[in-house]
């Protein structure tokens, strides 16, 4: 069978889940393997991750953090040291029981997250307030034994960074928790063009072992929510269990106050589901491995290919640009690079050369823009920047128009029965209401947003006194 055509993908309005699977495979982001629930991240997918990683790593270092590397394997006894943490993670870890031919005396889990490893190390290196703060981060793979998996969104193994910090005071640690949430929300909004709601998780939804969890929540095209990143204030829970104490400025022994925060390959799934369309992936220019793809038209005609290469040369210091001068038909190339979500296509053929122009085609809107060669350098930057902004604006509009207010449980259910979306509703703070809402509607509390609206003074569920406005949704 010839591979010289772009295969059609499922219509996203008909079957969003199948559309997603089609996009991740046909845009060559991932391949499946015989390892259940794991994915092969292909060059195109990995280069997107490298771009995100480079930007985030820079921010993490600019905010004073240092990278380290902790072991992959955690002895069972070490994982058990913090009670809430082990309860949360034990059901979903992979256990190593044999090394070579030998059965191990103590089994080891593959890290699902590394709080206990950092805690053990911090105990060794922190003795005085002079040793604080300790601001560490690591880039690593982690494993969580998920039953149902989907590329990027939920996989047995994923890649992430996990920050782990120690501070003298609660206030300083809480400020760190907020600061890193800010780094994540800026990254989502400015790099990935994904608008987010910043807030706090309810106690039910917080990280196992944390005092509280901050989160950035985003809304996918299909109206389901996705947690884009989290930042946890751990308090002194791990410090108590592991004995991470220091002599403070008054010579008294104190426990450190800790945070942890993480950002994963999951975000690539979010980017696909926020921006993608029925022709495939749509990538924000700032994160696209190739920002401009040149497709020569009637390239067998004399001078066309040379001219196309000279344009590539001219722009290559300014944008990430590539050319497809293969013998495939332009139509095939158009489809292929639309599938891959490349922000701009640059077409140039004999007539364009004559008129000293090129034609630019925007992936986000399909708009065709004819640009004179001598204006190309300034125009192309402008257009890429406009694409980035338009994509954000479009996603922000979608978020806004897909957010409803519910004032009682019936209304809540009927909204979600019609279609998936964010629901803003008041909540009394009682987990019983949270559980009931989930049972009745399928929605979970996504966050208590920092920006509170006083929708009413009654809980949407029990009608008792409300404490917070909460964002609710069905979620990935």
């Amino acid at each position: 069978m010839s591979k010289n055509f772009v295969e059609k993908i499922t219509n996203m309005e008909v079957d969003f889940a199948q559309w997603y699977t089609d996009v991740v495979t046909k845009a060559k982001l991932v391949d499946y393997s015989s390892v259940r629930g794991s994915m092969v991240i292909r060059p195109y997918g990995y280069s997107i991750w490298e771009n995100i990683k480079d930007q985030l790593d820079k921010k993490i270092k600019e905010t004073g953090h240092e990278n380290v590397y902790m072991p992959l394997l955690i002895p069972e006894s070490l994982l058990q040291k913090e009670k809430d943490h082990i309860e949360g993670f034990a059901p979903e870890v992979a256990w190593v029981t044999h090394g070579g031919e030998e059965e191990l005396q103590e089994r080891l889990c593959i890290r699902p997250t590394s709080e206990v490893l950092f805690a053990e190390h911090y105990k060794n290196i922190i003795h005085s307030y002079r040793d604080l703060p300790k601001l560490y981060n690591q880039w690593a793979n982690v494993v969580r034994w998920e039953k149902t998996t989907r590329p990027f969104l939920r996989t047995l193994e994923f890649l992430w960074q996990e920050g782990h910090t120690c501070h003298e005071t609660e206030e300083e640690a809480i400020n760190e928790t907020k600061k890193m949430l800010g780094v994540y929300s800026t990254l989502c909004e400015e790099l990935l063009a994904i608008p987010v709601i910043k807030g706090k998780k309810t106690n039910k939804e917080k990280f196992a072992g944390a005092k509280f969890t901050y989160t950035v929540e985003s809304l996918m095209h299909d109206g389901k929510a996705l947690q884009a990143a989290t930042s946890h204030f751990l308090g002194d829970g791990f410090a108590k269990s592991f004995g991470i104490s220091f002599l403070d400025r008054d010579g008294k022994l104190q426990n450190v106050q800790q945070t942890s925060w993480g950002f994963t390959t999951r975000i690539i799934g979010a980017m696909i589901m926020v921006h993608g369309d029925n022709r495939g992936l749509v990538l924000p220019p700032k994160v696209a491995p190739t920002q401009v793809m040149i497709v020569p038209i009637a390239q067998h005609k004399e001078g066309v290919i040379d001219h196309a290469y000279s344009i590539k040369e001219k722009l290559s210091d300014m944008v990430r640009i590539d050319i497809d001068a293969s013998e495939k038909q332009p139509g095939w190339k158009f489809n292929e690079y639309e599938m891959q979500g490349i922000p701009l296509r640059l077409e140039v053929g004999p007539r364009d050369i004559e008129k000293e122009q090129v034609v630019l085609v925007r992936r986000d809107s399909g708009e065709k823009i004819t640009v004179l060669i001598n204006e190309l350098e300034s125009k192309i930057q402008e257009i890429l920047s406009d694409i980035q902004n338009s994509m954000y604006a479009k996603a922000a509009k979608h978020l806004k128009s897909n957010t409803s207010i519910a004032s009682n449980l019936e209304e809540f259910k009927s909204i979600l029965h019609e279609e998936n979306r964010f629901i803003k509703a008041m909540w009394c703070g009682d987990v019983a209401c949270e559980d009931l809402i989930k049972e009745e509607s399928g929605a979970t509390s996504r966050c208590i947003p920092f920006q509170q609206d006083e929708l009413s003074d009654k809980c949407v569920c029990c009608n008792k006194e409300a404490k917070h406005m909460v964002y609710w949704a069905k979620a990935y």
Copy 2:
């Protein structure tokens, strides 16, 4: 106990192994953890790895390779598909047998290397000669169940890159194998100032599953050898077992020809043992996270600290420079940054300010150089470059003066009985001789160097006709 002094380290001539352990811990490169055989790579150690990684990643991309990411876990049945490969690796893999509460139907090993995962993926994506070559690389962690371990040199888990490529012809694949060995040897020599011997492993020492293995071998301060990196020609062994075939230019079905090549965190151990001395680590300037450390003298005197900071500011675009303006004594600081192997110390005090000069102290030689402030920018580059070159020259001299020729087994044994070193000796090509040499002397064949000397026409062991000159040594 006050930590305000630098602890002494063991003399390297008295106990080299203990000296090594002292250096890696006291220079704050690693910490131990409760995970047997694994290490915590601390910020200083990790930033050295980041520098090496950045340079190597750039080279790998410049030579046309793309980064991907394969799963951590390998099903047992997949690992078993290539017979030689599984035989070599089965005794040293970690086995996952449980996920959460459930026992797995098929156990999974943590990748010791990823040939079989790449092979499975290549089978999916390679169909025609047009799909070739495929030049992939991944940065990952791997696990090998070692009995005795030492930080960097031999650990249960280590970090590395592993390149895996597919080609149309044997010739092209062998060229790739050579090219990547060249990338490694250049990196060792030019970045890390480690001279290497390039050559081929004997059949006994080659990679499990390879047709042959190229290697770069280096010599440590104590006269033991260390394999710095390897590059394997796999031929079509994996292609046959996994069915990675393609339609060639004549429309015939062929197996791909493969290579794989890897470079690991082990190299940090080599760098320590090649360049270190009794005051600690000595880092080549090109890889040092901090190249110049400013230590203000009599810093309580007016203007000294401001002046020191202004020097830092002035040089910070040019070199990786830091300042220690803490209240610790200059003597403490001298020792500390010598332990950390920072290539240059810059001292500046009231008298220097008066004379418009600074004092530079070289870590490699201890030489003090007084430099006028207005010549600092040009001089400092020159000195760093001279340090880099001197370190290489010193290591090359050590390698040369610690290489002997042996013409019979008695001589071979008596040389190694006296002290560890490289031995050049002729070999018949018979594994029986290789085994006997190891048994009698403890030395293994390190490589058949590309650059052959005709030392004699008789095997050093059996006295029969010699085929190759071989480098032998006891090895890490």
